[in-house]
């Protein structure tokens, strides 16, 4: 036992270890080819190392001849597998150089196996002459073979040179095309150790150097360099995986802190992935598979259309997905959800994925609902008190058709008493009665709509229609107060998004205020004008102007405050409620004094989605 019998097996063991590692990775990970080729090279280098050790320890010709031929073959396999590895791994090598390596080597190796040649006459020596024991440091000794060198031994060296040229060329090309410095370092290291290995073998072959073959020593660093190169991606991947896990933990923490559920909808395959929390929120079991249809079944029927529209709009245009809807839980409860998402498209712009989050907003919705109910109640109370203000005008409005019906009926009775009864006249009268009944009915309908307790229900509606309704209610009050009421709505006004009753309430409130103001000037000058116009591309402005004395400048800023009134008998409720109602619809309301006489109250309302220019 000396240092030589220890170091060569160590080299072999190192190669085997590297080979086994790559083999095990290569069997379970794609791509397989580079790792399997690498493992094969490593195993061959281990064999080479073992054979080198065997050769240096034998002085028996038959053993030497057998080991030499094994070694030559193993070196050949080693060269070819390494070359194949580099070919597969770098993908930048030249084919003819790659093919030259095995061809050249096989031409040299052939001499080892010529059937007619005597034993000992092979690739290295033409004829074997004997063994020589060489003493070296550390008390170690080894045998070297001696003989007449074979002039054709140039082929394996040419093969090594071709290999070196192939690696240098391939790594230079890679460097040029990707600019990776790594390629040069690894390629350079491989070239350097190939040169060392080749040179050492050549010097031993020619008897210049009295050492054993150390090919495996030169190839071990090559293997290490390639292994590092091969596993750089794996290492980077592992690091990335660590980072990713950390990110995921952060995301989970953020989601659970914000109580968010996450989901991803694969649009092409129509399958929805949902996080545990998202499944909980929707009441899905952990294993249930979800698609668009399943999702829609769990959305409250009243909200399905809105949600569907949000999805379609998001798919059609390049906009984020935002929807709020109720979810029907399996136990029959409902839950308000807010969903936000972002669409991901493939190269051709087709929607691929929709990724997003959901949040339980039942609590917020509950508060909102309560607030809305309070607002509705207050608005209702104010409406009732406002209707009281012109009850006498309304009773006049009703007594006209009712009186007409009564008189017509009485007249008909008289016509029937005639002899013969005047049936034709009675027929005409009955038609009139029906007409007046409808008139009375429509007054009652309008009143009932205004007096009914109801919830906030905005919809797309025509400002002109609502103005006409309000004018019909206010007309008789205006005539008894001798105020000229003019309605001026531009033709073809686009629809607004608004609650109809709340709009009527605001209009009535402003018109009654305007008539109060106008009444304080002499009868001939009493005038109230209501104008409705488009304002920009997204809203409509309604202006109610009067010919009264105007608003005292010090009151202008406070008009919409609750309990602020400029009238002796005013409660200061009407305008503050009007402001609440208009702002709830997304509009604004303000007042200003006119340049000439009187004041103008203006409010805006946003256009309905359907009326917006696309």
């Amino acid at each position: 036992m000396n240092w030589m019998t220890i170091t060569w097996p160590m080299v072999a063991a190192a190669c085997l270890t590297l080979g086994l590692i790559e083999l095990s990775i290569g069997l379970s990970h794609h791509p397989r080819a580079p790792r399997l080729l690498f493992a094969l090279s490593a195993f061959t280098v281990a064999c080479v190392s073992g054979l080198e050790l065997a050769l240096m320890r034998t002085d028996v010709f038959a053993e030497w001849w057998l080991f030499t031929r094994f070694l030559d073959t193993a070196v050949g396999i080693m060269l070819v597998t390494l070359m194949a590895f580099i070919w597969v791994y770098l993908r930048t090598g030249r084919k003819w150089l790659a093919l030259a390596v095995p061809c050249l080597y096989v031409m040299g190796l052939a001499f080892d196996f010529l059937p007619w040649a005597p034993p000992g006459s092979g690739m290295t020596y033409q004829s074997f002459s004997g063994f020589r024991l060489v003493e070296t440091f550390g008390g170690a000794s080894f045998y070297v073979a001696e003989g007449i060198p074979n002039p054709w031994n140039v082929f394996p060296y040419l093969a090594v040179l071709a290999q070196i040229a192939f690696v240098a060329d391939a790594s230079a090309k890679l460097r040029r095309s990707t600019g990776e410095r790594r390629a040069t370092v690894v390629g350079g290291a491989i070239v350097f150790f190939f040169l060392c290995g080749g040179l050492q073998a050549a010097l031993v072959d020619t008897g210049v150097l009295d050492t054993p073959y150390m090919i495996s020593w030169a190839y071990l660093p090559v293997l290490v360099a390639m292994s590092i190169e091969l596993n750089a991606d794996v290492l980077a991947g592992a690091r990335l995986a660590g980072v990713l896990q950390e990110r995921e933990r952060h995301m989970d923490l953020a989601c659970s802190a914000a109580d968010l559920g996450m989901w991803t909808w694969d649009i092409g395959r129509d399958s929805i992935w949902a996080s545990r929390r998202a499944r909980e929120l929707f009441g899905y079991s952990a294993s249930e598979s979800i698609d668009r249809a399943r999702f829609f079944r769990s959305v409250h029927p009243e909200d399905r259309e809105v949600t569907d529209r949000a999805i379609e709009e998001m798919l059609a245009r390049d906009m984020g997905y935002e929807a709020e809807y109720r979810v029907l839980l399996p136990d029959g409860r409902t839950r308000w959800m807010a969903a936000r998402g972002q669409i991901e498209r493939d190269g051709s712009g087709k929607p691929k994925l929709l990724r997003g989050v959901v949040l339980d907003i039942s609590a917020r919705r509950g508060t909102e609902l309560e607030l809305q109910q309070l607002r509705s109640q207050l608005a209702h109370a104010s409406r009732v008190s406002m209707m009281g203000q012109f009850a006498s005008a309304l009773s006049h409005e009703l007594s006209q058709p009712l009186g007409a019906i009564l008189r017509n009926a009485e007249a008909a009775e008289l016509f029937l008493e005639h002899d013969p009864p005047d049936i034709e006249e009675v027929r005409v009268i009955l038609a009139d009665i029906r007409h007046d009944d409808q008139r009375a009915g429509s007054v009652i309908d309008r009143l009932r709509a205004l007096l009914k307790r109801r919830n906030f229900a905005p919809r797309a509606l025509s400002v002109s229609d609502e103005l006409a309704n309000v004018a019909a209610l206010a007309r008789s009050d205006s005539s008894s107060r001798k105020v000229r009421l003019e309605i001026d709505a531009a033709p073809d006004l686009p629809a607004v998004m608004c609650d109809p009753v709340h709009l009527q309430q605001v209009l009535l409130n402003l018109i009654i205020n305007a008539m109060d103001a106008a009444e304080s000037v002499q009868a001939a000058r009493r005038r109230v004008t209501v104008r409705a116009r488009s304002r920009g591309a997204s809203e409509i402005e309604v202006a109610v102007s009067d010919s009264g004395p105007g608003i005292p400048p010090e009151s202008l800023g406070r008009l919409f405050e609750p309990f602020f009134s400029t009238k002796a008998d005013g409660m200061g409720i009407g305008l503050s409620i009007s402001r609440t109602l208009i702002e709830a619809q997304g509009g604004r309301i303000w007042a200003e004094n006119n340049a000439g006489e009187g004041a103008t109250f203006r409010f805006t309302l946003p256009l309905a989605e359907s009326a917006k220019p696309s």
Binding site: S395, D432, K482
Partner: protein
């Protein structure tokens, strides 16, 4: 000239109610004319007998305005007001101005027709009274101015002697005047003469100042 038929003038801005009311009144046997506004009615106001049935609340000139305008006109027709609902201040004001009646639009037919009848009757009474006065006054037309002066003193109960002194004429001249007056008016006694002059409202509003 035959006895003119009283006409019920109906004024209301509500066309439907106007037609219905006119229909009922016609069926009840009245002659009816309809107007969509107070202004229309006043423009067509003639001399004829009848009454006005008007809506109290109308745009422009309302019922009370119409009543005031009518009081300044030559033909002071009685007015029956109709209203959706009677509020007290307006009712009081209308009644003070001499509204014949004040009814809601849906008052019973009997009340309405009775009110119209009353209004027409009142108009007829006023017209009869006017005619009687006119006839009485016509009898005094033949008296000379001097005779009218003497008549005034006689009606005030003065003796011939006093009259003669006041007028600066002889007692005999006064007697001649008195004879002419009684024969022209066809009365026999001073009491009868006094009654006639009072009925004709001859010296109303001219308070007497005796020296």
């Amino acid at each position: 000239m035959s006895e003119p038929v009283p006409i019920v003038h109906v004024v209301d801005d509500d066309a439907s109610f106007l037609v219905a009311l006119a229909r009922l009144l016609k069926a009840a046997g009245y002659s009816v004319q309809t107007y969509a506004s107070a202004v229309d009615f006043l423009a067509q106001l003639g001399e004829g007998a009848g009454c006005v049935v008007t809506d109290l609340r109308m745009p422009g000139m309302d019922g009370l305005d119409l009543q005031q305008a009518l009081m300044r006109a030559a033909n002071v027709l009685p007015v029956v007001f109709l209203t959706g609902e009677g509020d007290i201040p307006t009712t009081v004001r209308a009644m003070r101005q001499g509204a014949e009646d004040f009814l809601t639009k849906r008052a019973p037919k009997e009340d309405l027709l009775a009110a119209v009848d009353r209004a027409i009757a009142r108009d007829a009474r006023r017209r009869a009274e006017d005619a009687r006065l006119r006839a009485l006054r016509a009898r005094f037309v033949n008296l000379t101015n001097r005779e009218l002066v003497v008549l005034r003193h006689v009606v005030q109960g003065r003796l011939n002697k006093q009259i003669a002194i006041v007028l600066g004429v002889s007692e005999r001249t006064v007697k001649l005047h008195r004879t002419a007056i009684t024969s022209k008016l066809g009365v026999r006694s001073v009491a009868e003469l006094t009654r006639l002059a009072q009925a004709a409202g001859l010296f109303d509003g001219t308070p007497d100042e005796l020296p």
